[in-house]
């Protein structure tokens, strides 16, 4: 049980990732596949955020040392933990993965936007966003100018 609680975030990451991948490969609908992709990408977000967690760490916004707030935060730490790692003052979460995943989220949003835009164009050109129907239409037109703009 304690293993489950300790690894809860990572278990959720794996479930999200697999759900996303499953949706991508099992759906015929282009929009659903984009949703699967978004889910798959957001699992990375959770993964990175879990990675950055430091026990007892607070948000990585510098608290002025020796302020009342810093003392209050330091007092919340487990004494055994402080002794074991020789912690002095406030403990922060690792900010770097936060920044990384912020970038990855931006990249993900851009990908999503492009993907949905392509889905719109597919619908304009084929009149459907279902992959099997698109395949059929694609095969029936082998040569010559096609519609689309």
């Amino acid at each position: 049980m304690s293993w489950f609680i300790a690894n809860f975030n990572y278990i959720v990451v794996v479930i999200l990732m697999m759900t996303g991948l499953f949706i991508i490969f099992s759906s015929a609908n282009l929009i659903r596949r984009m949703i699967g992709l978004a889910l798959f990408q957001s699992s990375t977000g959770l993964f990175y955020i879990s990675l950055s967690k430091v026990s007892g760490g607070t948000a990585a916004i510098v608290v002025p040392p020796d302020s009342a707030e810093a003392r209050a935060l330091a007092a919340q730490l487990d004494p055994a933990y402080v002794a074991a790692f020789g912690v002095k003052g406030v403990v922060y979460a690792n900010p770097l993965p936060h920044v990384l995943i912020l970038t990855a989220i931006v990249v993900g949003v851009a990908t999503l936007a492009v993907g949905l835009a392509i889905a719109v164009r597919v619908r304009e050109a084929y009149g459907t966003v279902e992959a099997p129907e698109i395949d059929d239409l694609g095969r029936s037109v082998t040569e010559g100018p096609e519609n689309g703009r």
């Binding site: 990732m17 991948l21 991508i24 282009l30 596949r33 992709l37 798959f40 990408q41 990375t44 993964f47 990175y48 990675l51 770097l96 993965p97 990384l100 970038t103 990855a104 990249v107 993900g108 851009a110 990908t111 492009v114 993907g115 835009a117 392509i118 889905a119 164009r121 597919v122 050109a125 084929y126 992959a131 698109i134 395949d135 694609g138 037109v141 040569e143 010559g144 100018p145 096609e146 519609n147 689309g148 703009r149």
Partner: protein
């Protein structure tokens, strides 16, 4: 050594910032081209940017030759904490390839775009093209694993949109682009997950630092998991068999200019990153990469080389045939990785450049031939050699180099590969390479036979000679591939130095 140093003159102030300028200027150029009112002005901006980028990458390459590796610290944050650009010999070589092919493609785009893209979209198209260039150069210049992901996605998002822009003339480009986007994004996300694992294990993103810390800490389960994620992710991007499903569609239906860019440079940068991780970041001799090379990469690459060459032989659509050929040649390159060692790696890196140039010429000439006519099937090109001799000449130069005719770069590349395989006593790999080369001869020979000796079908649309603005760049690119076939000192030295560099980082 041909005097590369004499080829350029650049003020010291520019040279000092050349690596970052080669990335930032195309980015700014992309904005300018996108905002410019007409296609013509966008094209001028595009060409000017491409010229400047090529100049800067040449300056960087010269610096690399002088002092081994150029490290450019971004924003004044010292490594390993700050992001750095670290250009070594192989990065410089690929940077040159990307920027030179990009420059020629930019020149060609003046003609090839007109038929394929609506006029009011030209400036946006060229903007995407420059964005892609910036991302590709970023990948080969950066020394930061996460920064490489960002650059990978900058270039990929550009190419998704550009492949989809082929939908204006052939709607099948749209589903192909969608497929490419889905698989490409899965690949990139796998890469990010892998980087997360490695970051969790080492606490660093700087590739050199990562290598040192991995060597010091040894292997662990997270490191192995990260390694696997990174390899699968980059395998998708590099179109490694059997992860190449996105490639034939994307190559076949994209505008010819984009096929040229994809084939010559985009998959090559993923292969480059793969080499970087396999040989520099993950210590060799360690369980993970050794097992991967021997039991997974080698057999898959061999299967890809044979299977996709056969598919290319039986393919009716000329661009799909060349696309399958690309997957097969990727197999060839990865076989070189499987051979391993300095020799195998440097042969692979040489092959990467050779194949980039070859596919550049082939798709450039093909794009030129199809400007006037809608031809897709190989039989549509019957007898075209008489109507468009110069374009077909350029195509033939590329084809000869692809087959590996002596005096071409393709010959040297294959020769070095097979030599490395024999020296490494991997006889089955050498046998597969020879078989793959023989199959290459079959599909290339079939295309050339149709082009040169068949009578065109009566009433078929006759191709015209491509405009000089296409033939000249194609011949220049073909000429480079022959020049390097005769005097390979420039790519040869850089790839040998590059391989030594990848191996030499380790303590």
């Amino acid at each position: 050594m041909i005097g590369l140093e004499t080829l350029y003159v650049a003020p010291a102030s520019l040279v000092a910032h050349a690596p970052i300028l080669a990335i930032v200027i195309p980015l700014l150029g992309a904005c300018a081209a996108g905002l410019s009112p007409g296609g013509r002005s966008a094209w001028m901006i595009c060409v000017a940017t491409a010229v400047f980028t090529a100049w800067m990458s040449l300056a960087t390459a010269c610096e690399v030759m002088r002092q081994d590796a150029v490290v450019y610290v971004l924003g004044g944050f010292q490594p390993p904490l700050g992001i750095t650009l670290r250009v070594d010999a192989i990065g410089a070589l690929l940077g040159l390839l990307i920027s030179v092919v990009g420059l020629l493609a930019a020149v060609v785009s003046g003609h090839s775009l007109v038929a394929e893209i609506r006029k009011e979209k030209h400036s946006l198209f060229l903007s995407g093209f420059l964005l892609c260039q910036a991302g590709l150069i970023g990948i080969v210049y950066t020394g930061d694993a996460f920064n490489a992901f960002v650059c990978l996605e900058i270039s990929s998002i550009g190419t998704y949109a550009l492949v989809a822009s082929g939908g204006a003339s052939d709607r099948r480009a749209l589903p192909a682009a969608f497929n490419y986007l889905i698989l490409g994004t899965i690949g990139a996300t796998f890469y990010v997950i892998g980087i997360g694992f490695i970051y969790g294990a080492t606490g660093t993103l700087n590739m050199v630092d990562m290598a040192a810390r991995l060597a010091a800490h040894g292997q662990s389960a997270p490191v192995h998991a990260g390694f696997a994620f990174i390899m699968v992710g980059l395998g998708i991007k590099a179109a490694m068999f059997p992860l190449h499903g996105w490639l034939p569609g994307a190559y076949a239906y994209a505008p010819s200019l984009i096929t040229l860019l994809l084939a010559a440079t985009a998959t090559k940068t993923a292969i480059y990153l793969m080499a970087r991780f396999l040989f520099e970041v993950f210590p060799d001799g360690a369980a993970a990469s050794e097992v991967f090379l021997t039991w997974i990469l080698g057999p898959l690459a061999a299967a890809g080389l044979i299977v996709c060459s056969l598919q290319a032989i039986f393919e009716q659509d000329i661009r799909r045939a060349l696309a399958f050929s690309s997957v097969a040649q990727v197999g060839f390159i990865l076989l070189g990785f499987a051979v391993g060692g300095d020799q195998g790696l440097s042969a692979s890196l040489f092959f990467v450049v050779a194949h980039g140039l070859i596919k550049g010429v082939l798709f450039m000439a093909l794009g030129g031939l199809t400007i006037g006519i809608r031809a897709r099937r190989i039989v549509d090109f019957a007898g075209i050699g008489r109507d468009a001799p110069w374009t077909v000449l350029a195509f033939s130069v590329g084809a000869a180099s692809l087959v590996g005719t002596p005096l071409t770069m393709g010959f040297l590349a294959k020769w070095q590969m097979i030599e490395a395989a024999l020296a490494g006593e991997r006889y089955w790999i050498a046998a597969v390479m020879v078989a793959g080369s023989a199959l290459t001869l079959l599909y290339v020979g079939r295309i050339l036979e149709v082009m040169m000796f068949r009578e065109p079908a009566p009433g078929a649309p006759r191709a015209k000679e491509a405009p000089a603005g296409v033939i000249l760049p194609a011949l220049v690119l073909g000429g480079i591939s022959i020049w390097f076939g005769v005097d390979s000192s420039l790519p040869g030295q850089l790839s040998v130095a590059g391989a030594a560099g990848l191996f030499g980082v380790r303590p």
